[in-house]
């Protein structure tokens, strides 16, 4: 069991209010991702759940029991830190065994569990090495190994992939998702990267300035963002926003349209513009088009599209995919 509930949780450092008040339910076995721009309070929220920081107000319930005042070790949670925080003078074996040793397990149990974790994480050949003799990805796996041997109620990850290079990041992303499928343990995963959030999460929690902007599955957030912030944050490349007369036509302060929902043609269309930079990814081409009277609009074309800098094109947004926002930035449904 590993459901976690936050009830009006708030946190201030001195006079700065980092988290005003958060209510959140995390179900057992869920993969929840906290996503938001840097400095929005994701790590702080995670550390509150872990017990590494004291809440200023509110309650944290783990498995229905009040854990607000409980010491970190007593909450039954494991954390994987951004810097891995491995113990440099201990071998990989020592690192993974450390939580078991602290829990007073006997030697045979420790050996068995460490061996098992090492096998799951492909670390068997490295058990006697020191962390500094490992690559970034291996260190990451040791940190995960140290987290799983305790068989926690839930795992907490704080931007675990941000120190890895792009290729490895994609690999580890898959490995962590795979691990979640195997263990079926609740995972809370913090990242500022919306791609990680979209690809891994069962449930995404979008944070801004310590407030929850929206909670939902990746597709819910993509299809029906609750406000302009979520609309702009989820999806890559970013949604285009248009204000003024064009938006008024749809009865909104602002309208938003994703690059993949705009048709490009050399003939007739809703908007006319001049092609600026085009980014060729092979499968897709992203065109930054300078639309007359609207400014720059990003649109996705297929990879074969043959346009050059300075060409005139016309863009036609798919009217059923246009998002409308009022003057407060809230979505109009």
């Amino acid at each position: 069991m590993g459901n976690i509930k936050l009830r009006e949780v708030s946190k201030s450092f001195g006079s700065t209010k980092v988290i005003p008040s958060i209510d959140l339910d995390i179900e057992d076995g869920e993969f929840v991702v906290f996503v938001g721009p840097s400095g929005c309070g994701k790590s702080t929220l995670l550390r509150l759940i872990a017990g590494l920081e004291d809440v200023t107000g509110g309650q944290i319930l783990i498995d229905g029991k009040d854990a607000t005042g409980l010491a970190p070790a007593k909450r039954g949670l494991s954390m994987v830190f951004q810097s891995y925080a491995l113990y440099p003078h201990m071998s990989v074996r020592g690192n993974i065994a450390f939580p078991l040793k602290m829990a007073g397990e006997d030697k045979a149990t420790i050996d068995r569990k460490v061996g098992e974790a090492a096998r799951v994480l492909n670390l068997t050949d490295y058990l006697d090495r020191k962390p500094r003799q490992l690559s970034g990805g291996q260190r990451q796996r040791v940190a995960i190994g140290r987290a799983i041997v305790r068989e926690p109620e839930a795992f907490l990850f704080d931007e675990p992939l941000s120190n890895l290079d792009a290729a490895l990041r994609v690999n580890m992303r898959l490995e962590i998702s795979e691990l979640h499928q195997q263990l079926k343990t609740t995972m809370i995963y913090v990242t500022h990267d919306q791609v990680e959030a979209m690809t891994m999460a069962d449930k995404i929690v979008v944070l801004q300035a310590g407030n929850i902007e929206q909670v939902g599955s990746p597709l819910e957030l993509y299809k029906a963002p609750r406000n302009r912030f979520v609309a702009g944050f989820i999806g890559s490349p970013k949604m285009n926003f248009v204000e003024g007369a064009e938006a008024q036509k749809h009865g909104a302060q602002t309208i938003g349209i994703r690059p993949e929902h705009i048709a490009i043609s050399k003939g007739e269309g809703t908007w006319q513009g001049t092609v600026g930079v085009s980014e060729h990814l092979g499968s897709d081409t992203f065109l930054h088009v300078n639309v007359d009277g609207l400014g720059t609009i990003t649109a996705r074309a297929d990879g074969e599209m043959d346009v050059r800098h300075g060409d005139r094109v016309s863009l036609t947004p798919d009217s059923s995919k246009i998002h409308k926002f009022d003057q407060n930035g809230l979505a109009i449904r």
């Binding site: 970190p72 070790a73 951004q82 810097s83 925080a85 003078h89 140290r146």
Partner: protein, 290 residues
């Protein structure tokens, strides 16, 4: 890539410095070696016949020599135990965040700036004097009764004085080591279920191992040659109870006017220092590898 030409140019440029350094070390050492083979007494400096190893056999067979070696090693070991142990505790304390921590840190470092002679005089007359010393007064006050440190526990008294002087050094080095310990590691250990003592034992102490090694090596070098504190307080006495090797060499040369014997003692002291250094490096030097 260094070419042949730049290599020989570099050798040429470095030569003066290397030669000066060599002279600096070799001349005094060889003069000492030379004197140690002469019967050179200041009462009769005109006649300095060559007598081979006689000075050495005299110095090494002198019962005072073994006492001096024992005192030297006791002094070094005693001070190391106090400064490393106390240094760790003080560093842990000063690493905390409390009101006025900067002033306390400054105060804790202050003893290091006091000259050894002054420190020894202050301790002798103001702290350890059985009649009007602060320690004596305090012990009287709590009913234990004053101790006449320099007659009853002279070597302990010297160890306390020297440890007081070196405690700031170890505290400072260990404090910087402590401050470089990542907060996340401690937090990870905390989440892994380690209590304060376990964190200290499994995380903090291994992290400080290298700094502790440095403290031990550097202090040993200086502690082997403690002199001023003994000269000012006990003059090696009572009897030979606080005579260490440097003080024995001094006594040989300037109290018995035997330059030859003192030189032999000096060479023995150098050899002893090297033996100690050898074993130290063997035992704890592996901590210095990255």
């Amino acid at each position: 890539m260094a070419t042949m030409q730049t290599k020989s140019a570099a050798r040429l440029m470095m030569a003066p410095a290397v030669i000066a350094l060599l002279l600096w070390m070799v001349v005094p050492l060889s003069m000492t070696l030379y004197f140690s083979t002469l019967n050179y007494n200041l009462f009769n400096p005109a006649q300095t016949p060559f007598i081979g190893f006689t000075n050495y056999s005299f110095f090494l067979s002198d019962p005072a020599f073994f006492t001096a070696i024992r005192n030297t090693l006791t002094l070094v070991a005693g001070v190391l135990v106090i400064t490393v142990g106390g240094g760790i505790l003080l560093a842990l304390l000063l690493d905390q965040d409390f009101y006025g921590v900067n002033i306390v840190r400054l105060l804790a470092i202050a003893p290091f700036f006091v000259m050894p002679t002054v420190a020894a005089l202050v301790w002798k007359n103001m702290m350890m004097n059985p009649v009007y010393g602060v320690i004596g007064q305090f012990l009287n006050f709590i009913g234990v009764g004053a101790i006449d440190w320099f007659s009853n526990a002279p070597l302990t008294a010297i160890i306390i004085i020297v440890a007081w002087q070196w405690l700031p050094f170890s505290t400072l080095i260990l404090l910087t080591a402590l401050q470089s310990l990542s907060e996340e590691q401690k937090e990870a250990a905390e989440m892994d279920g380690a209590g304060a003592l376990s964190i200290f034992w499994y995380i903090t102490l291994p992290h400080m191992a290298r700094a502790i090694t440095v403290v031990i090596l550097i202090q040993t070098i200086f502690l082997l040659s403690i002199f001023a504190e003994i000269y000012v307080t006990t003059s090696g006495g009572p009897g030979l109870q606080t005579t260490n090797l440097p003080y024995l060499v001094y006594a040989q040369a300037l109290l018995q006017f035997d330059v030859g014997g003192a030189s032999a003692g000096g060479i023995v002291a150098v050899i002893l220092a090297n033996i100690v250094a050898f074993f130290l490096i063997r035992i704890i030097g592996k901590n210095l590898d990255a």
